[in-house]
Subunit: 188 residues, 2 copies
């Protein structure tokens, strides 16, 4: 087998496409982010990387709160829109129905199946990336997206971002149960 | 609309299911990780969260290198296996064909369509999570997974992890082109 050595790039498969919310200049603003991920489970924490010049970053720095809103695949168009146009020139405060939780300053999107309300814990900087580490203080979801009280992946129908071809994808078919299909007794 | 407020949990949709590799006690070892994500693009960096007691963590601490190996959906069973059994009791060094790159101590999996070779830059700790921030020093892939010299999502057919139902999924159908479907002129 011959593997090619490629230039280092920020690749991950899959990447999410989430809407990160913050209050900037007295208004809610949202930006589309694919470079993020969970980094701790107790306390639950998320890392969100955003170009330091982004308008949303200002609000996160100021209020030390932000939200991570999970759009469904049918929200692809508006999610893409939020990534294309800066809050500096485009008022994105009226696109969605916005609500707030206990942190008061982290605007969340009603239309998104799942919302993570986050308190900024630490900020890192590498190159032009400002990396916000947030503790997830609450999760919000409508009943219709829950199964046994927990958000259900299939009901959410989350949007997936692919950086190789710059396309959005849907989630596909189940492959098997985790902590199960790899058991030794199941091998061979 | 009534949203339910749920207890804070480390949710993200989608999550990847990657195999993180390190050299421990002179042998390659691999663990399955879903809590990870890209946190910087220049330099390209990845954050990988792993329970501090995991065997793989020892190797990352010692050699200050690790790999992130992207399995395809057809590798679900072996990926699950690597997450179920600790390298402390189960020798995982012979499961895959292993190769090394310029960093010398980050074992990578030939069978995985894409490999990220990483140098440890910083380690964070929150609760029981040890978070390794690594700079991606090289990317490896076979020709058959490339399109125009870049890894191709559809050819990779990456494994997706869903923590709500503890299942693995495939990637599904394309929804639209990013930086395109949300353009104002496309809005109705």
């Amino acid at each position: 087998m011959i593997k090619k050595k490629l230039a280092p790039k920020p690749l991950m498969y899959p990447k999410p496409a989430v809407l990160v919310g913050a209050r900037v200049m007295g208004k809610p603003n949202f930006n589309t982010i694919a470079n993020c991920g969970i980094i701790s489970w107790d306390p639950p924490m998320v890392a969100v990387a955003s170009y330091f010049g982004h308008y949303t970053n200002r609000g996160i720095r100021r209020h030390k709160t932000f939200s991570v809103n999970i759009p469904s695949a049918k929200m692809a168009k508006v999610t893409d829109f939020c990534g294309l146009y800066s809050g500096r020139k485009t008022d994105k405060s009226k696109i969605f129905k916005v609500f707030y939780g206990g942190l008061k300053t982290a605007p969340m999107i009603e239309e998104c199946p799942v919302n993570l309300e986050c308190k900024l814990v630490k900020t890192l900087k590498y190159g032009e990336a400002e990396i916000f580490l947030g503790e997830i203080k609450a999760v919000y979801a409508e009943d219709k997206y829950l199964t046994n009280g927990q958000p259900d992946t299939i009901k959410i129908d989350p949007l997936i971002y692919s950086s190789s071809d710059k396309k959005y994808y849907r989630i596909g078919k189940p492959v098997g149960k985790a902590y199960e299909i790899g058991r030794k007794k199941k091998q061979a």
